[in-house]
Every structure is written in C-alpha cells, then in structure tokens.
Amino acid sequence: MKKKQLIVNIIQYIVVALILLFLLFPLYWVLITSFKENMEAYKFPPTFFPQFPTPDAYIKLFTEDQYFFRYYMNNFIVSGACAILTTFMAIISGYALSRFNFKWNKWIIAAFTSAQMFPVVSRMISLYGLMGDMNLINTQLGLVLALTAAMIPFSTMLMASFFDSIPKVLEEAAFIDGAGRFKILFSVIIPLVKPGIVAVGIYSLLMTWDDYLHATTLIQTDSLRTLSAGVSVRYLGELSYDWSLINTISVIGIIPMLLLFFFFQKHLVKGLVQGAVKG
C-alpha cells in the first residue's frame, strides 16, 4: 500500500513538473533572451543561459523608447476605467437580476448570454460607425465604453450569482426598518458581496488589458494607444522583427500585471469560483 502511494506521489510530481515546465519555461525563455546580446539571441543551437548577460535592451527601452511607457499608462487608464465602470454597472444590474424576478429577466439573461458569444470582428464596422456618430472615435472614453460593453454580460451574471447567495431576510429587515431601496443596496447588501466586487473588478481589468481589436480599430493617435495595439504597431511592422527588443517588451509588459495578480489572487480566485459554481 505504501509503495503504491509512493508511485502515485511520483506520478503526481511528474505530471505537475511537466505541466509547469510547459507553462513556465516559455517565460524563462523570454526572460533570458531579453538579456542576450542581439547576435547571441540569433544563435543556433541556442544558449540556455546568456553568455554575456546584458541589460542593454532594457536600457534602450527605458531611455529611448519612452512611448512604450505611454502605451502602458494608457492601458492602465483604459483598463482601470473599464474595470470601475463595469463593476459598478455589474453591481446594480446584477442586483436587479438577482432580486427582482420578473418575466423579462429571462430575456435579459438570454441577451447577455448571446452577447458574450459574438465575435468582435463581426461588429467592428458598425461599432465604428456608431462611435463616429457619437464623436467618440479616437478617444479613450470611446474605447472604455466599447470594452465595458464587451465585459458587462459576463460580469453582470457573475455579480448576480453573488447576490443570490445573500439571504433576502436582511433586506426584509432593513425594509421594515424603513430604509430606502438604494440605501439597502449600498449600505446593507454591497458590503456583503465585497469578494465578488473585487473578483469582477480584477477580472475585467485583466480581460480588457488583453484587448487588441478594439484598440487598433478605435484609436489612431499614437499617444492614446494601449499596450497590445502599440506593440503591434511599433514592432510588427513592415521592415523587420527585432526579436531581442520584442522579448524585452514582453517581459516588461507582463511584470506589473503579474504583481497585481499575485496581490489580488486570493480574492479573484475565490470570487470567480464562487460565481462560477453558483452560476
């Protein structure tokens, strides 16, 4: 029995090691490539540790390519605003969906469900025309609205499942005490779904951080671009690939989000799982 347990353990470790290798080695690879000299990066067979580690690419990025950090800031502004807006709308709409069971709820859920399935490509032109009519082209507000719209269906339904788990007795009590509906929502119920709010917020931040199609279509001015769009404009151009620079950018592009994620990990995971299980 003990022997069998040992074998099981070993197999477990192997499985974990293999999957982790698959998940993490590419990141290691990007990291070390970013520290290689340009010519060493193109060496074959490749070196698994830089022969002459050099921070040149980083220095170049920090000193010459200032715009990279502008993309970064823009992405934070856009994703941050989206996250706040999405979360707020998800809270109120999710609450309504969860608490007030009317006939049209089903329609709304059907609409939300189908809305999250529609590909961006299919609505790009119409979306652009719409934004044009509202004078929102080439503005961060327009991008924020478009991205928020894309996030709302999922976020609202996630949020609704959190409200589902709050016993309605609380509201009844507050209502009998004479509290208004808004007051009940904001001072009684919302504090109880904090994990859900954090989860929805972080999730929409991470998802909008990844956007590429909206940003390339709706933004034309370089100083307003977000990261993915900016990276593709600058480094996937007509002339050539500068792989060591691309690797450096990848590293810099990943780290802050990674830190943010580790910081909020517990809430995000808890929230997503709770929402998903209930959903």
Partner: protein
C-alpha cells in the same frame, strides 16, 4: 421546459433588436446623405471662389495623414522631421499622423473613413490603390496636380498608379523587386562576388556551393530566399518572379492569365528550391531580411528599401550587401514588378486637398527626398530630375540593380488584388510545404482565383 424558454427568449431578443436596428439604420442613412449634401454645397461654394493656382488658406488647415511608417524604427525620424519642416514652411497647415500597423493599415483606412473620419493622405503600397480608389476614398491625382507636374515623374511609375487607366496616387519613390546578395558568402563559396548570377540556371549552379557554407556559429546558409508567407506583399513578389520567367498572372483587364509556361515554370522552380532546401520556407520579407542580415542567406528578392530592415538588425550588413537585377528564367528576361511607396489623397474639400497637395509637393523636393533615399530607405526617386543624384547612382545597395527599373512592369491593379495575392502565396505554399503536384495545384488555384476576381 426551460431550454425551450431560453431558445424562445433568444428569438424574441433577436426580433426586438431587429426592429431597433431597422430604426437605427434608417437614421444613419439620413445623416449620411445630409453630410454628403453639405459637402457638395461646400465644394461648389469653394469652386466658385477659387480660381488662381495659389490657393489662399483662409483658416488653419489640419491634414490627417495615415502613415504606418511614422512609428517604425528606421522611418520614424524622417517622417517627424518632414512634418516639422513642412509646418515651419506653411504655418497655417498642421500635419496630424494617423497610425496603424503596416499589415492593418489598409483595413484601418477603410474603417476610419467608413466610420466618418476624414483621411486626407495615405502613405502606402501601390497595391492599396485599387481598393481605396474603388471604395471612393482617394481622388485621381489628375484632378489636383497639373499635367506639367505629373510629367516630371517617370511614366513607368505613373503607370503603376493606374486603376482602370486613371492614376490615383503620386509615387514617392519606387523599386522593382531586385536581388540582394551577400558578397562575403559568395567569396567564401569560391564565387566571384562581382558577378552575381543573371539567370535561374546560373543561380542553381552556384547554389550547392553556397548551401555547403556554414556561418561562424555553425548555422546553415540558405542560397536563395523567396518570400512565400501569407501576406499580400509576398504575392507581389511572386508575381515579379513570374514576370522574370516571362510569364503573366493577370491581363490588362484584370482577368486571370496563367496558362503560360512562365507561370508554371515559376512554381516548378519554387518546388525545386524547396525540395533542395535552398529557400527558407514560408518566410515573410522581414524574415528574409533578418536571415540576410545575419549572414545566413546568400541571395534574396526584396524591394530596395527592404535593406533598411536589414541594416536595423545588423549595421555591418552595408559592408557585404550588393544588388543585382532579378534572375531571368525560362523564356523570360528577368522582368520585375514595380513597387512604389505611394502618396494617396483623400477627398475632403478644397482646402484639405490643396494643403495635402502642398505637402506632397514638399515631400518630393530634392531637399527632403534625396537625403531620405540616400540614408534611410534606398529607393529610386519618382522625379526624373532627381535620378542624377550621385548618392543614389553609386549606392552599393542600388547600383547593381539600376538597369532593372527600365524593364520593370507594373502589376494590374484590381480591387481584389490583396486577396488574390494571398491566394497566390497559398499556391506557393501548396507546392512547397504541402508538397503538392504543381499542375494540380495550379488547377485548384485557378478555381479559387476566378471566384476572387469575379467578386
């Protein structure tokens, strides 16, 4: 039960929104016609007031310039300086760049204009002309530029600007697809670095010697690079190769014209290259530039300004690069396709058009263009008057291929050229990486291409 309900409610939502869209769509049309009318009204107003050649700008004008190159290392400095210089010269006019990635630019211009954004000027490939002209986004240049002015440009380059006979762009500089080769590798292989191959057969004779070479790092050397990746410009390059074999791809009316020996021989040649491992598979031009810069590629086809990309990877490349005319294959004499970086004008009212015209003229002046072609993007200036410039005639990057400009032809410009070009790359991939038989692949290509062309 609830499943049924869900499906039903889905349908209802659709129905609801259909009716909404109905209203929304109608409204949009109305606003569109409105703005068209006001545009017309403006245009007629201005026509009557404007008579002299020197247009008077009554108020500051901003030119919206869609340009992918502004953001690319290698091009950025030039474009920003050009903007600065022009704005100093004409304080009333501001140039505002609209940027997108090279591969997305054409789509972006269409989306922008479609969404109501005004684009005054586009910098890009000549192959974008038919799409933009067909969509009504750009103006025939004969509308704005005098015949005198346009007659200073090489007629062959002006031909490349034509869509159904009307020129829609002003070429800034042009290049046929030429052959770059690495003199150092030729020397190492025991070949004469000053006599590159002129025919496909000569090249294939030299190839084994080059293929036997290794770089200092022990990496493989490819003798000959031809781009076949799934991007539009690869299709132009393949067309050029077909011309080199004396074949044709499209006739002057934009109809498929591939029942010729040259076309078949081209793809047989590609298959042979691939079978022998001479050509890096499914490469984009930028992959080839990369390999060439690293000394892993002995010869390859590119536009002359492609060297800018080579140099940005390895500045030393200037020491070993040389250019030659494209190879002659089969019954052909090594003709090539003219590629031009082109300026295309939008149609946003008199003031915009006049300002844009001034900017184009400014870009084509000797002071602006020649340093650019000498130091940044090697290419052949479109103005005949500028061709006598020493720096361009003696440039190691250009001199060897100078003659091929005379024999270069322009490709037929049809609105579906970009999709057609992608299909052409798919054909080259079929016979190489897919190992399909040439004749059969061409038959399959024919079917798909006919549908694209009839689109």
């Amino acid at each position: 039960m609830s499943k049924m309900k869900k499906v039903l409610s889905l349908l209802l939502i659709f129905a609801l929104t259909v009716s909404l869209v109905g209203c929304g769509g109608a409204q949009k049309e109305e606003t569109k016609t409105d703005s068209a009318q006001t545009d017309e009204a403006q245009a007629t107003n201005e026509e009557t007031s404007e008579t002299s050649d020197n247009y008077e700008f009554t108020e500051p004008v901003t030119i919206k310039f869609a340009n992918y190159a502004v953001l690319e290392a290698g091009y950025d400095v030039f474009w920003n300086n050009a903007k600065k210089g022009f704005e100093e010269k004409y304080p009333d006019i501001t140039v505002e760049f609209m940027t997108a990635e090279y591969g997305q630019m054409l789509t972006q211009v269409v989306t922008w204009v479609g969404g109501g954004e005004k684009v005054d000027l586009v910098f890009g490939e000549a192959s974008w002309l038919p799409t933009l002209a067909d969509a009504g986004i750009i103006l025939p240049v004969t509308d704005t530029f005098s015949e005198d002015y346009l007659s200073q440009i090489y007629p062959s380059m002006m031909d490349a600007m034509k869509v159904y006979g009307i020129p829609y762009g002003v070429p800034m500089y042009a290049s046929p697809f030429i052959m770059f080769y690495n003199k150092d590798l030729f020397e190492q292989a025991g070949l004469d670095p000053n006599s590159p191959p002129t025919t496909v057969d000569e090249m294939m004779e030299m190839a084994p010697k080059l293929a036997a070479l290794k770089t200092a790092d022990g990496n493989q050397v490819y003798p000959f690079g031809m781009t076949t990746a799934s991007v539009g410009v690869s299709g132009s390059c393949l067309t050029s190769l077909v011309y080199g074999f004396g074949g044709s791809v499209l006739n002057a009316d934009g109809q498929l014209d591939i029942d010729n020996a040259g076309f078949t021989q081209t793809f047989e040649f590609l298959k042979e290259l691939d079978d022998k491992g001479y050509n890096p598979q499914v490469s984009k031009l930028k992959d080839l530039r990369n390999l060439f810069a690293l000394g892993q590629l002995a010869m390859y086809y590119d536009q002359s300004w492609g060297f800018n990309g080579v140099r940005s990877i390895n500045p030393e490349a200037a020491n070993f690069v040389a250019s030659a005319a494209p190879l002659a294959g089969g019954q052909g004499t090594g003709e090539s396709v003219i590629q031009a970086h082109t300026l295309m004008m939008g149609n946003n009212g008199e003031a915009q058009v006049e300002a844009t015209k001034l900017f184009i003229e400014y870009l084509l002046t000797e002071d602006v263009l020649v340093p650019y072609l000498e130091n940044v993007a090697p290419g052949y200036p479109s103005m005949m008057a500028l061709s006598e410039i020493q720096g361009i005639k003696e440039s190691p990057v250009l001199s060897g291929a100078l003659k091929s400009l005379d024999t270069a032809k322009s490709a037929t410009n049809i609105p579906t050229i970009n999709d057609f070009n992608l299909e052409l790359t798919a054909l080259s991939q079929a016979v190489t990486v897919n190992d399909k038989e040439v004749g059969q692949s061409i038959e399959e290509f024919k079917k798909v291409a006919e549908i694209i062309l009839s689109n």
